[in-house]
């Protein structure tokens, strides 16, 4: 799991540190930085997947510099624990707008004892082997992650372990209206908005057939009349996601993914996340997962997630404003992000909020609704 993130000079984060647990609920007002935490995780995942350049939209373009700072360097640090192996990743980005030069100044990976496994300074890489002996030195394109380019070898298994872990980080803020019913190719990773749910499901069907069956059985409990889901061939290389319904007294009928409601799509995706990522090493970073979901369905899904976190799902970090989520998870798992007078975001200890002297406690969501959390 990701244990800690440090960020400096990115949007509202100046010298900012946040620690994560197996289940963490990020709370805070609009603009406090909750989604920005997920933006950073997404950007780091994409960078370490080797798919993007530093200045690409959605990664670390110059407009992510903290507006009131003149410092042109952004720093990102992640401390992770992957099956007992501790890693510390550090990325320093230089945003030189005057010279239109946006580059990675520093990128390094260390182990739990602060030994380098990889070090890149201004485009010059020094590799290290698993036994910490120096490996090759070479020059790289500093507009992208050099670490992402390292191929897996017998003598760099630890570095590869970190990369594989980071490439599996799931970052999702669902937008069910964007879900595409037609599948053209398998997709291993869910998009940020889950629009490729069907393509991702197709991949899961091949990789995780047992989990797919459990997922379908779960949907029978969750979606009225749900009978089954299948991928129907609609062309030589195209398939469509179809859901069949069988309700008492009615004939069986089928609908495409884009013909069911937003809420039903949201439920499909939420239970797919908990069922299909169970038993994997993928941490889940979810932005307002309760959106579109009916009130009666929020707590049952939260309980499913809670029961799996730290066990079959290594980690879940949720951003939410919803009272159901706040009241169920907030008092023990909540972390409050708060913008200070300086504009920078800080983490406030919720115990200061909740250890109050109320004779009869009011709910945490009510405290927050009244603006009493600060």
């Amino acid at each position: 799991m990701i244990k800690r993130i440090y960020v400096d000079n990115y949007k509202c984060f100046v010298n900012f540190e946040l620690r994560f647990e197996p289940l963490t609920l990020l709370l805070g007002r609009n603009g406090a930085g909750k989604t920005s935490v997920l933006d950073i995780m997404f950007a780091l995942r994409e960078l370490l997947s080797g798919r993007v350049k530093i200045s690409d939209e959605g990664i670390f373009p110059a407009n992510t510099l903290t507006a009131w700072q003149t410092n042109r360097f952004q720093t990102f640090q992640l401390d992770t624990d992957v099956d007992g192996d501790v890693f510390s990743y550090r990325l320093v980005v230089e945003q030189n707008q005057a010279e239109r030069m946006f580059r990675i100044k520093e990128e390094s990976l260390k182990d739990g004892e602060r030994n380098f496994l990889f070090n890149c300074q201004l485009g010059e890489v020094q590799l290290y082997r698993d036994d910490l002996s120096p490996g090759p030195k070479y020059s790289v394109d500093w507009s992208e992650s050099a670490l992402a380019r390292i191929p897996a070898r017998h003598d760099n298994t630890r570095l590869t372990k970190f990369l594989d872990f980071m490439r599996g980080v799931v970052v999702c803020g669902m937008y069910p209206a964007s879900f595409q019913a037609e599948i053209v190719e398998y997709e291993e990773m869910l998009n940020r908005d889950a629009s490729n749910f069907a393509s991702w499901y197709q991949h899961q069907q091949l990789e995780n057939p047992d989990s797919i069956e459990k997922f379908k059985r779960k949907l029978e409990e969750v979606i009225d009349g749900f009978d089954s889901a299948r991928l129907e061939k609609t062309g030589s290389s195209r398939r469509a996601f179809r859901i069949s319904f069988l309700e008492e007294g009615k004939q069986k009928y089928e609908l495409s993914l884009n013909e069911i409601s937003d809420g039903q799509r949201a439920l499909l995706a939420l239970y797919a996340l908990t069922e299909l990522y169970s038993g994997t090493k993928n941490p889940l970073y979810l932005d307002e997962p309760e959106n579109y979901v009916s009130l009666a369905e929020i707590q049952p899904w939260l309980i499913e997630l809670y029961d799996r976190c730290g066990e079959s799902i290594p980690q879940a970090v949720i951003c939410s404003h919803h009272p159901e989520v706040i009241n169920y998870l907030g008092s023990i798992h909540g972390v409050l992000l708060n913008r200070e007078q300086s504009g920078a975001t800080r983490v406030n200890d919720l115990s200061d909020v909740i250890s109050g002297d109320a004779e009869v406690g009011i709910t945490l969501s009510e405290i927050i609704a009244r603006g009493w959390e600060n």
Binding site: E221, L246, E248, S331, I354, S355, A358, E359, T363
Partner: protein, 188 residues
């Protein structure tokens, strides 16, 4: 197919905190309940207020239970730590809260179970961990994480299914098991 999909809660659980909630929920799972039948209401955070919250909330939940019971087969479980007050006085607090709110106390035929872990839920966890437990001892340690009570809940479910607690069992747990059996299981 589709039988439980339109969620209709069959059991409301009113409890003090996350540890009570997770423990009892895991116990119910072990006894065959489907999670979707449960609705959890935990006391909001606030030092010393959890017991009072449950106490204040109880008559409201009892009234709601009564208004729905003819239409739906529902149960109400209330969990409140005994602390220094003990089992009888804790139940007395709930009865007094009903009186203040002009709600008749629960009757024998109602599927409303009041469970009073004494000294607190950690006492039960210690017992289910194999220890002999003194209900006057407030110092049984908390688990590092509430979710670690899975095996404790499983142990209790197994004992309940065989209708026998390991001797010597804490009195509060014995009474709780009796309440569960008579008011929840047998009251259908």
């Amino acid at each position: 197919m589709g039988e439980l999909s339109q969620r209709r809660v069959g059991m409301a659980i009113l409890c003090e905190d996350e540890q009570q909630e997770v423990f009892f929920r895991k116990f119910l799972e072990g006894m065959g309940w489907n999670l979707r039948q449960l609705r959890i209401e935990k006391a909001p955070p606030g030092k010393g207020s959890a017991k009072q919250y449950v106490s204040e909330r109880y008559p409201i939940e009892l009234k709601k239970y009564r208004s729905k019971r003819s239409a739906i087969n529902i149960k109400l479980i209330v969990m409140i730590d005994g602390d220094a007050v003990g089992i009888s006085d804790s139940k007395g607090m709930l009865k007094e809260s009903c009186r203040r709110n002009s709600v008749d106390p629960r009757s024998d035929d109602e599927a409303v179970a009041i469970l009073v872990p004494t000294w607190n839920i950690e006492s039960w966890l210690a017992y289910l961990d194999g220890q002999a437990v003194d209900e006057n001892n407030s110092k049984y340690p908390r688990l590092d994480k509430p979710s670690l009570c899975r095996r404790h809940a499983k142990a209790l479910a197994e004992m309940c299914q065989s209708k026998q607690l390991r001797n010597p069992a804490p009195k509060s747990l014995q009474l709780a098991c009796d309440e569960y059996q008579t008011r929840i299981v047998e009251n259908n």
